[in-house]
């Protein structure tokens, strides 16, 4: 009969194994998540019933839904306003986040609508990025290789995308640099106004 010490050791060992296995299971999940989002986007883009310019709005709506379900727009918004976020009131933050989400979703869905077809995508691998995971992909076309990396965060048992790095250029970093440059010469209200105009323009197209 095993002693209590041995049982304790085995239990600890079991916990260690489970503990280290969990992240391993989590890593493969990030890539799967990205794969699933991309596959779904490609399905929308290539569905026969949704082909043609007359179905663009329907495709756009589905793509937007896909984005809103899989991207942490709020987090992205906050990070994009690094250095200014803390100074905002709750109302301002809310207003800004709503506008950012709309603008980002609109911009990103347009890129998907305009560029994504049925692609061959390679998934070279994932790498930890602090508390996040970076999933690398390469869109393989005949004469073009487009590296796109996704930064994911696990939220409520689901991997959510919090940044997209297109050919080495991060979306969040781009927003941060753009907003930062804008706010050096303009007020926050001016930014909100500009974003609102952009949102309206996106709604109408």
């Amino acid at each position: 009969m095993l002693s209590v010490r041995v049982w304790n050791f085995l239990f600890a060992f079991f916990l260690i194994v489970i503990g280290t296995a969990a992240p391993l299971r989590a890593q493969s999940g990030a890539t799967d998540q990205v794969r699933s989002v991309l596959d779904e986007a490609m399905d929308i883009q290539t569905k026969p019933a949704l082909q043609g310019s007359e179905h663009r709005k329907e495709r756009a709506a589905q793509i937007r839904k896909l984005i809103s379900e899989n991207f942490l727009s709020g987090e992205m918004a906050r990070e994009s306003l690094q250095g200014y976020w803390e100074k905002l009131s709750a109302t301002q933050r809310q207003q800004y986040q709503a506008l950012f989400t709309a603008i980002f979703t609109d911009s990103y869905s347009r890129r998907v609508l305009d560029f994504l077809k049925r692609e061959t995508i390679q998934y070279p691998g994932e790498t930890p990025e602090g508390k996040y995971i970076k999933v690398s992909t390469i869109i393989m076309r005949t004469n073009e290789h487009i590296p796109v990396d996704y930064i994911l965060e696990r939220k409520d048992r689901k991997w959510m995308i919090r940044d997209v790095i297109i050919d080495g250029v991060g979306t969040v970093e781009t927003y941060r640099n753009g907003f930062g440059a804008f706010l050096r010469n303009n007020s926050f209200d001016a930014l909100i106004q500009r974003m609102a105009i952009q949102k309206r323009a996106g709604d109408e197209v």
């Binding site: 603008i103 980002f104 073009e144 290789h145 297109i166 050919d167 781009t174 640099n177 804008f182 952009q198």
Partner: protein, 933 residues
């Protein structure tokens, strides 16, 4: 006249008994003359020497010539290509040929070595261009700094891709922040992307990899300035950069007609060879003062040769028709030929050369000199038909009766040329001496060789001889009182009309306008004038200090006829002090190269600073390069860009980028040997960047350029031994009427000591005009004195001059109507026509003085002789009209018209005027025989 009659009699008395001796001596002298001419006679083309070998301009021109490649003769080679690169390729090719032929070419100046002035390259740019370069460096500072650290091809494309990715993502997500966005206008592209530089690199790489082109530096498109392409720098472009110039220094070969003609012909053959072997899209030609002179001389000589032969043939034909046989024309031709050969021999011994004026003497002598023999035979046929006797007896009679008149006519013609010696204008002096002596030699031949030949060959007994009475009643012209009045009235009216028309005739003193239109040197000189800011011909002023050079230059520049003024300071960059702040700011933007990078550039091999050898291109490098190119390709979304309202040029550029990348990738994928070429291209690219960075750094840090920094080859053209040369270029084409005079007058109003080809041309032309007028006056005076001395009657002397005066008025009137002006060629028309005009008057007057003509009549034989003489003279001058040289053509036209006008005046006006005078009593002719057929 008695003197001439005695001399004529004595001469024929000596000649007639010994015809064989005369002919033998003549033959020998002809052989000697021709040999002398072949050995000693040369042709000189120097324009100023035509004025005087001691003309002060000659010495000054030699000083000026020292600034032109130390006094060496040069041709200007002009090249025009569809592109600047193509013109440069042609130039390089022909320079290679020139350098490979030191026997014909001493040197060629076609390019300043860029290394000698590249340190100040940026100083030569305008300030706005420098500011643009600074802005470009600022905008691309990341690229500039990172390339300075690693100037590698792959790194370059990575940086470009990175920049494009930033732009692309930025445009995707934050583009709205840059625009004044409204709901109605979602915004358009505000910062145009320019892919020209990228296209240049890609095309260069693609071309190099495929082996279709050599390495081409792309940096001119980066800086939007042509100054960066040092491969193209240093060449001698004309102002608008359409024409490439080189100065070719031919070797001088003695003994040829022109010392540089052989080199000129060879240079043109090289041009032709290149055009037919790969450069059919380029044009090139040779011009400049030396080439213009050579072409003019070539044309003139060729035309003179043809004109002389044509003249002789024409004259023979006319004589055969008029004299109805071949024997007498043959004798005349042989006598003329002997006289011409004696003239060549004399010229070779006493003058030694021909010039552009005296080269016309041969056809002129053919036309003028044949007259005396014609008059001789016209009288011979009359005497032979009328009187019995042997050939010798008839010859003696001809000599007694017509000899003095013919001799006087010959002397008169010679005297119309010999006074040219008094003009002091060397070219005319030589023409006068040669032609004057030529006439005397021909007259001598007509009094020796012609009688000797006639003794053996003249046609002796016709089938039927006319009676003396009948013969004496044959007239060419019989004027009644009404006819006399009509003729005189018509002459007056025509003279008035001629005077009115003659008032339109001007002097056009520009010798360039006489050149053959289709001459290559003329064509290219005009191309230069039309397509560049200035002519190849310039005036010059020497100054003794820099301040004087600047002051004088400013004065000349202010003249309305001046397009450009160059001096030593023109070679320096403008406003250097003003550019220094911009240059220094550029210097700050260009990073220092890493030592390893800088070292790499100075080493000829591929070794690095630590001694390791640079690896050749491996498969991983190639793969990485392909990958980054494909990433760039992805960003060239031309269809999307068009949809988003991007400009058409940008869309076009995107397409080009994609095509270039596809070509490169295909080359690298398909052929393993491309690795070597890729390695080589990579090496050249790296070297190029390092050189560019070094150049910018050095040039932006350099002190302003001074005179001493100017390359010696250029500096010597404007500064030598303390003397500063100012070159002044005309605004108008000095080929055009009046432009040369205006230009020279303007220059001399600032500085009377101005020199150069335009001045030489102008001085030459002015001197020539003055000399021609003087020559005409001297000739007229000399002939008047001779005739006065001979006739011993002022009235007869004046009457004998009437055909000349009236004929001249009519001739100048015809010139006015036909639009001809007096020029440097036909200005010698007057002396020519003086001789011919006086000759007809003397012959007719001399016949009238025999006393058997009658009121208003002109004896048939005399008239026939004068007409035939005029026709041969006309043909002799008329053949000049076959010349492509416009000056000689105009001389032919004017002299042809002149001789016909003088003929008409002599045939009609002289008998009409003589009808008012009492005819002298006829001398009894005891040998007259009435013989029936």
């Amino acid at each position: 006249m008695n003197l001439l009659a005695r001399f004529s009699k004595d001469l024929v008395a000596w000649v007639l008994p010994r015809p064989r001796f005369i002919l033998a001596v003549s033959l020998l002298s002809v052989i000697v003359s021709l040999w002398l001419a072949a050995v000693r006679l040369e042709v000189r083309t120097e324009q100023l020497e035509l004025i005087s070998p001691r003309h002060p301009l000659i010495a000054k021109t030699r000083i000026l010539g020292e600034f032109n490649f130390h006094g060496k003769t040069t041709f200007a080679l002009v090249v025009r290509g569809p592109t600047q690169n193509r013109a440069i390729e042609f130039m390089n090719a022909i320079v290679s040929k020139i350098h490979a032929d030191p026997e014909h070419f001493e040197d060629v100046f076609y390019r300043i070595n860029p290394d000698e002035f590249k340190k100040w390259l940026l100083y030569y740019l305008d300030k706005p261009e420098l500011v643009s370069i600074r802005n470009t460096l600022e905008r691309n500072s990341v690229l500039v700094h990172k390339m300075a650290v690693n100037p590698d091809l792959l790194n370059f494309f990575k940086l470009v891709n990175q920049d494009m990715a930033s732009r692309m993502v930025g445009e995707f997500f934050t583009g709205f922040l840059d625009e004044k966005v409204t709901p109605e206008d979602p915004g358009k592209e505000t910062k145009p992307l320019d892919l020209e530089f990228l296209i240049k690199v890609l095309d260069g790489c693609s071309g190099y990899l495929s082996g279709t082109q050599k390495y081409v530096s792309p940096w001119s498109s980066f800086f939007k300035s042509g100054a960066w392409d040092l491969e193209k720098e240093g060449y001698l472009w004309e102002g608008k950069k359409k024409l490439l110039i080189a100065e070719v220094m031919p070797s001088q070969v003695l003994g040829e007609v022109s010392k540089t003609l052989g080199s000129l012909s060879l240079l043109r053959s090289y041009i032709h060879d290149l055009k037919t072997s790969g450069f059919s899209d380029c044009e090139a030609g040779v011009t400049g003062q030396e080439a213009l002179s050579n072409d003019e001389m070539l044309t003139a000589m060729a035309d003179m040769t043809n004109a002389t032969w044509l003249s002789m043939l024409g004259v023979i034909l006319v004589m055969v028709l008029f004299l109805r046989g071949f024997r007498h024309p043959l004798i005349i031709t042989l006598s003329l030929a002997v006289g011409l050969c004696w003239t060549f021999g004399w010229t070779a011994v006493f003058i030694g050369h021909l010039n552009i004026l005296s080269i016309v003497f041969a056809p002129m002598l053919c036309g003028l000199g044949v007259d005396y023999a014609i008059h001789w035979f016209a009288r011979f046929e009359e005497e032979r038909d009328l009187y019995d006797g042997s050939r010798s007896a008839v010859i003696k009679r001809v000599m007694d009766k017509s000899g003095p008149g013919i001799m006087l006519a010959g002397l008169s013609t010679a005297f119309s040329f010999l006074p040219f010696i008094l003009t002091g204008f060397r070219g005319l002096m030589e023409l006068g001496m040669i032609t004057g002596m030529g006439i005397l030699f021909i007259v001598l031949a007509d009094f020796t060789v012609l009688p000797a030949l006639s003794h053996y060959l003249a046609v002796e007994k016709p089938l039927c001889r006319r009676s003396a009475t009948q013969g004496n009643n044959r007239y060419l012209l019989r004027l009644g009182p009404r006819g006399v009045r009509t003729i005189l009235a018509a002459a007056l009216i025509l003279s008035i009309a001629g005077s009115v028309s003659a008032s339109r005739v001007r002097f056009d003193l520009n010798p360039l306008r006489l050149q053959p239109k289709d001459s290559e040197s003329v064509y290219w000189e005009k191309v230069l004038v039309e397509n560049s800011d200035r002519s190849i011909i310039s005036a010059g002023v020497l100054t003794h200090s820099s301040e004087e050079a600047k002051t004088e230059s400013a004065k000349f520049k202010a003249l309305r006829t001046v397009s450009q003024v160059d001096n030593i300071f023109s070679l320096l960059p403008e406003n250097q002090e003003e550019k220094i702040p911009v240059l220094r700011s550029i210097a700050l933007l260009v990073p220092e190269l890493k030592p390893s990078v800088a070292h790499w550039a100075t080493e000829r091999g591929h070794s690095n600073l630590d001694g390791t050898v640079e690896p050749s291109v491996g498969s991983s490098y190639k793969a990485e390069l392909i990958e980054v190119l494909q990433r760039i390709r992805f960003k060239m979304q031309d269809e999307q860009a068009e949809k988003w309202g991007a400009s058409k040029p940008l869309v076009g550029q995107m397409v080009k980028v994609k095509e270039s990348i596809d070509r490169i990738v295909q080359s690298l994928d398909n052929s393993p040997t491309e690795s070597e070429r890729l390695f080589e291209y990579r090496r050249r690219f790296k070297k190029d960047i390092i050189e560019q960075w070094t150049l910018i750094k050095e040039s932006s840090s350099a002190s302003p350029m001074s005179i001493l920094d100017i390359p010696l080859q250029l500096r010597d053209q404007f500064f030598e031994e303390g003397k500063y040369l100012i070159r002044i270029y005309p605004k108008e084409s000095i080929w055009e009427e009046g432009a040369l005079t205006r230009f020279v007058n303007d220059l001399q109003s600032v500085n009377p000591d101005v020199l150069g080809d335009p001045i030489n041309l102008y001085v030459f032309a002015s001197s020539f005009k003055k000399a021609s007028i003087n020559a005409s006056i001297y000739a007229l005076v000399a002939i008047a004195l001779l005739l006065q001395f001979t006739f011993r009657s002022l009235r007869l002397m004046l009457i004998s001059l009437i055909p000349l005066v009236v004929g001249t008025i009519w001739t100048v009137g015809i010139m006015g109507a036909a639009g001809f002006d007096f020029n440097l060629a036909n200005s010698i028309f007057m002396p020519l026509v003086v001789g011919a005009g006086v000759e007809y008057g003397v012959i007719i007057l001399n016949r009238w003085r025999e006393g058997r003509t009658g009121y208003g009549r002109l004896a048939f034989s005399t008239g026939k002789g004068v007409i035939l003489a005029a026709l041969t003279t006309t043909i002799g001058f008329g053949t000049l009209m076959i010349s492509n040289h416009r000056g000689i053509f105009s001389l032919g036209f004017v002299a042809w018209a002149g001789s016909l006008c003088v003929l008409v005046a002599a045939l009609f006006i002289l008998p009409a005027i003589l009808s008012f005078m009492k005819e002298p009593a006829p001398v009894a002719d005891k040998e007259a025989v009435n013989v029936e057929c």
